[in-house]
């Protein structure tokens, strides 16, 4: 049994690759991804679960990586924006965001795309109203929502 400690080794499985690292107990999954594994596609916005910029998939389900500890994410499959494309071939949701110009500054975009991938897997992107409601955890300060909804609708119809 592991005894409580302020720092320890953890193993994280990110985009199919295992990483072993020493962390302070306070390290969030978000900070481990960005600062330790240098996977900076996942963005840090509010750090309090309110903006969705840090959305990743954990065992296929979308979560906000700022509200969980790296230590709690062991033994799970973590997928970040870096893990979506197949080589140079964009994931259908990424391609739809490009096609629909579904961003302006781009800071929220990785979180929007990861959330949209999760949403389509949940089988609930059947109407624009449903997309708006179920993407409400992802804030876009530039207000690109109209095109984000259109991109997700297209990707969902095409089987995302």
């Amino acid at each position: 049994m592991q005894e409580p400690a302020r720092s320890f080794g953890v193993t994280l499985t990110v985009n199919g690759q295992q990483h072993r690292l020493e962390v302070d107990a306070r390290t969030t999954l978000l900070d481990a991804l960005r600062d330790r594994l240098h996977l900076t596609g996942t963005k840090k916005g509010c750090g309090l679960g309110q903006c969705g910029a840090c959305t990743v998939l954990l065992d296929g389900r979308r979560i906000v990586s700022c509200l969980t500890l790296a230590a709690m994410s062991q033994g799970k499959e973590i997928t970040t924006i870096e893990g979506l494309a197949d080589g140079d071939r964009l994931h259908p949701v990424q391609a739809a965001f490009v096609e629909h110009d579904a961003f302006q500054c781009g800071y929220c975009t990785p979180g929007q795309i990861m959330s949209a991938v999760g949403l389509i897997r949940e089988g609930h992107a059947r109407s624009e109203d449903e997309i708006r409601e179920l993407m409400s955890g992802n804030i876009c300060r530039c207000g690109a929502y109209t095109n984000i909804v259109a991109a997700i609708r297209q990707a969902a119809i095409q089987g995302g």
Partner: protein, 328 residues
């Protein structure tokens, strides 16, 4: 964040041992991480309880539903039996937070979510709930989101969760394991406490206690039920007012069982027995809904910033009844 020691707990006995020496629990983490980040909680030790076998949603032989304390909100909201028999619970969960948070947060943790009162979350201000005896900043401060029911001069902080409000409408019970291994069931209505002069004590839980499960009894499936949540924006916000209603009617349409509860307006998930009384023995129509809903705010004690919640709560209860009855 203040440094803390962390370890996952392999079993409930270890959880209890660690809790007795002061360790706090982490499950979904969605509220705990915010409290840690903002310095509202500064535990020396955190015990991760996610490895315990308490995450299943099970149908019991008699038709009751048992939610393991670690069941995720979205999983319960998606559960076919919950949706079919206890609609109010599924609707309350779907109106909770965002999809990402619902994939992380647990039902047990949701009962223990801390208030969104501005001053509880701001460690630079006095707050009796966070720092007993320091005073209530909301009483004469920014209290737009605070409680109109169940408060005291020490605290008018709202309990922010939707799930326990819905659970009142289905007579749910909470299974608690004490540090000595004994277990007992508590009706959800008795689980949370009013603040009185000890607002830092929010539930009947004692040190070393762990929530194991929530049970929704089969008989509640005999009621039609519905949840209405009113927020500052259409989605991903806490309730300004919410209403959970559950009614059983006989073959003539007369109400023979009623449960009505409110959220967003009270210091704990708030049952409204006077509204229930006004519905019993009547056939629901628009006039009866309005009459019953008018009684929702009996005893309300608004402050300067939240007086709008008095008519808002009445209208929210009325709307829930009208929608349930098919009149709106």
């Amino acid at each position: 964040m203040q440094p803390f020691a962390y370890a996952a707990a392999p079993d409930v006995a270890t959880v209890a041992t660690r809790a007795m020496r002061g360790a706090e629990f982490i499950a979904g983490g969605t509220d705990m991480l915010q409290l840690l980040q903002e310095g509202v909680r500064r535990p020396e030790e955190i015990t991760d309880i996610n490895g315990l076998p308490l995450s299943s949603v099970e149908e019991e032989p008699d038709g009751a539903i048992r939610l393991g304390t670690l069941a995720r909100l979205q999983e319960v909201a998606d559960h076919a039996t919950v949706r079919q028999r206890f609609a109010v619970v599924a609707e309350a969960l779907e109106a909770t937070a965002s999809p990402m948070v619902r994939h992380m947060a647990t039902v047990g943790g949701n009962l223990l979510q801390r208030t969104r009162c501005l001053y509880f979350r701001d460690v630079t201000t006095p707050c009796n709930k966070r720092e007993p005896g320091s005073g209530c900043s909301a009483w004469d401060g920014q209290n737009r989101i605070n409680a109109i029911l169940g408060g005291s001069e020490a605290c008018i902080a709202v309990h922010p969760s939707d799930l326990p409000v819905a659970l009142i409408a289905v007579d749910a019970e909470v299974l608690i394991r004490h540090a000595d291994g004994a277990e007992h069931w508590v009706p959800i209505e008795d689980f949370h406490r009013r603040p009185g002069d000890t607002p830092h004590i929010e539930t009947v839980l004692r040190q070393g206690d762990l929530i194991l499960a929530i049970r929704i009894p089969a008989h509640a499936a005999g009621r039609r039920s519905h949840y209405v949540k009113v927020r500052d924006r259409a989605s991903f916000a806490w309730a300004l007012a919410s209403a959970a209603v559950a009614l059983r009617t006989d073959e003539t349409g007369t109400v023979v069982e009623a449960r009505v509860a409110a959220g967003g307006v009270a210091t704990k998930p708030w049952r409204l027995p006077q509204v229930e009384q006004a519905l019993l023995g009547r056939r629901l129509d628009a006039a009866i809904a309005a009459q019953a809903a008018a009684r929702a705010t009996e005893g309300a004690a608004p402050r300067h910033g939240n007086a709008f919640k008095v008519p808002l709560l009445r209208h929210t209860v009325e709307r829930a009844l009208l929608e349930l009855g098919g009149f709106a």
